[in-house]
Structure formats: C-alpha cells, structure tokens
Symmetry: C2
Subunit: 159 residues, 2 copies
DNA sequence: TCGGAGTAGTTGACGTTTCAAGAACCTGGA
DNA sequence: TCCAGGTTCTTGAAACGTCAACTACTCCGA
C-alpha cells in the first residue's frame, strides 16, 4: 500500500468541496429539523418507512434503508416510538425480529416536516446547479454510492 | 415558505447518493486514521497548517480552513499540542489571538499519514470515476461549496 | 435431541460534537 | 477616560455516534 498515487488538481477540488458541503452544509439541515424536535436520522427513518410496502420494515432493513448502524437505529428509534410516530410489531415466524410500522401520526409528521427539509436541501445544493450539473452529480455520486451499498457486509477493506 | 418545490428524480438520486457517501463512506476514513491515533479533524488541521505560509495560522483562520467550529477546534487542538505536532504562539498586536504553528514533528506525522488517507479517499471515491465524472463532480460540488464559504457569518437562512 | 454457529436487536460506556456561557481583550464613540 | 459592543478563544454539560458486549432466538449438522 501507500504507493505514490496522489490526488490531481481536479480530484482535490472535488474532495475539498465535498468536505465543505459535509462540514458546513449538512449541520444546517439538523438545525432546521430540530425545530420540529427531530434529527436528520429520524427523518431518514420516517422516509424509509413511508416508502416501504405497508409502510413497515424489518428493523435490519430499516437500518439499511436509512444508512445507519443497528445500534444507532435502536437509540434513535426510542423517541419515535415514545411519540407514537412508529409502532413496533413482532415478526411471525421469527421471534428475534421486529417490524417498525409508520403510524398515521408519524405519517402526518413526515408530511408536515418534509417540505421544510426539502426546501433546505434545495437551498443547500440544487438551487446552485443547473440541470446538467445536477445530472453529473447524480451520476458520479451514484456510482460511488452503488459501490458502498454493494459491499454491505463484505470485506471492510484492503487486500 | 414550504412551497411545492419538490425534488425531481435526478435530484433525488443525487441527494440520496450523497447521503450514502456521507453515512457509509466517510466513517471508514475515521477508522483508518484512528490507527495513527488521529481523527479526520486532526488531519484537516494538520493539512491546513502545512499549506499556510510559515506553516502557521491564526486559530480563527485555522478553524475556517479546516471547516470546524471554534469550539471543536479548541477541543481537538489539545491532543496535537500535547503531542508536539502543533505549537501555540501569541499574536503580537492582539493579546486575544493565538497562532498555531505546525512543528517539524507534526509535519513528519502528516507526511507519514497522508498517503494512507489519500489512498482511502481514492478507494472511496475516485477509483470509481473516470476523468469526466471527476471533473463534473468537482464543478458541481465546487459551486455548492463556494456558496457555503462565501456566506460565512452572514444570514443563516431564509428571508 | 443436542449443541455450536450465526442472526436480530438492545444496552451501556466512551469519545466526539454542539451549544451556551464565560473570560480576556480590542475598538470606537461620548 | 470610560464603557458598551464586538472579537477571540476556552470551557463544561448535554446530546449524539460508535463500539463491544450481551440476550434471545434460529439454523443446521451430528
């Protein structure tokens, strides 16, 4: 490892820009959602459920869909359950499993919050890009994301 | 606010891909640096200093360059100072200010760690993109990042 | 039927980030 | 001169994410 494969100028610009977006842009999204007593994680969980058939998902699948670790899911799910946004059911045929179901309350909360969050995302990213740039971004990030999703439980790294 | 400006299909793909990269990809970078007893924040700070004239920066400017809040800088700087990677000097003419200077030790540590980190970034992102895609990514993210950097202490949002 | 290996989910502790507050200092006007 | 308001940096508490156990269950082969 550690060959001399440095980053060229374009790659550096891309990488540094990504860091700026992540470190300066994303926290702003948290701030907005916090006014609705939610974190972005919560929002992702609600979205994932709302898009699932029957508005319900096995916890493992919910974690997958929301891009979070099982433990993080567990911790953040507590609030949503206490609030009645999500209900927990047991899986028939597997006593280990649990299924999270988006309640009507939860769905209404999502509908209320979503426009504000989307507006934030727009102001953060897409308001500054034209159609081509957005397509490029989707294509490039999509490739990277695909790789990350494909190797889920596979080899962590290196050889 | 809260008009009906939803995200179209391309925008959704871009945004969701970004979330995947952030939530699944970036944590991996932390893991690698941790083997060298560093966080990515530390690395960013070392890089920022190494690129500054005289390898030194006013703390405010360092925070800016490393994309971190003043308080986060303060907390994470402690380790680097204890270790001797960074030295602190007072600013002449302003007794409030402090200047962080990258020591020779710190510079050597950066040189040692950088290739591993860069290799990680490569495997995460650029190994999966061709030249055009990388250029697109740099252009699109660059635009977004520019906006974020331009409005530093200005209006947080909305009008 | 038993037992080891793997899966599903939870918990608590630890390290990090954030936020609000504060200490120290500078600036400019009355 | 003095003081109000802004800047610079630090600190401690609270909230969050991660990691390593741990419980409970399923699967499968002997």
């Amino acid at each position: 490892m550690a060959e001399d494969r440095w980053l060229d100028d374009t790659e550096q610009r891309a990488w540094r820009a990504l860091l700026v977006v992540v470190n300066r842009g994303l926290p702003g999204l948290e701030r907005t959602l916090k006014r609705h007593d939610l974190l972005v994680v919560h929002y992702s969980m609600l979205v994932a459920l709302s898009e699932a058939p029957g508005r319900s998902l096995r916890l493992t699948d919910l974690a997958e869909a929301a891009n979070v670790s099982p433990s993080r899911l567990s911790h953040r799910l507590r609030l949503l359950i206490e609030r009645g946004d999500v209900a927990i059911e047991s899986v028939e045929g597997d006593a280990r499993g649990k299924t999270a179901v988006l309640t009507e309350t939860g769905h209404e909360r999502l509908i209320e919050v979503a426009p504000h969050h989307v507006e934030d995302v727009r102001r953060l990213v897409f308001d500054h890009l034209d159609e081509d740039e957005t397509a490029c971004l989707a294509a490039a990030l999509g490739k990277v994301a695909d790789v990350l999703c494909r190797r889920d439980g596979t080899t962590t790294d290196v050889g």
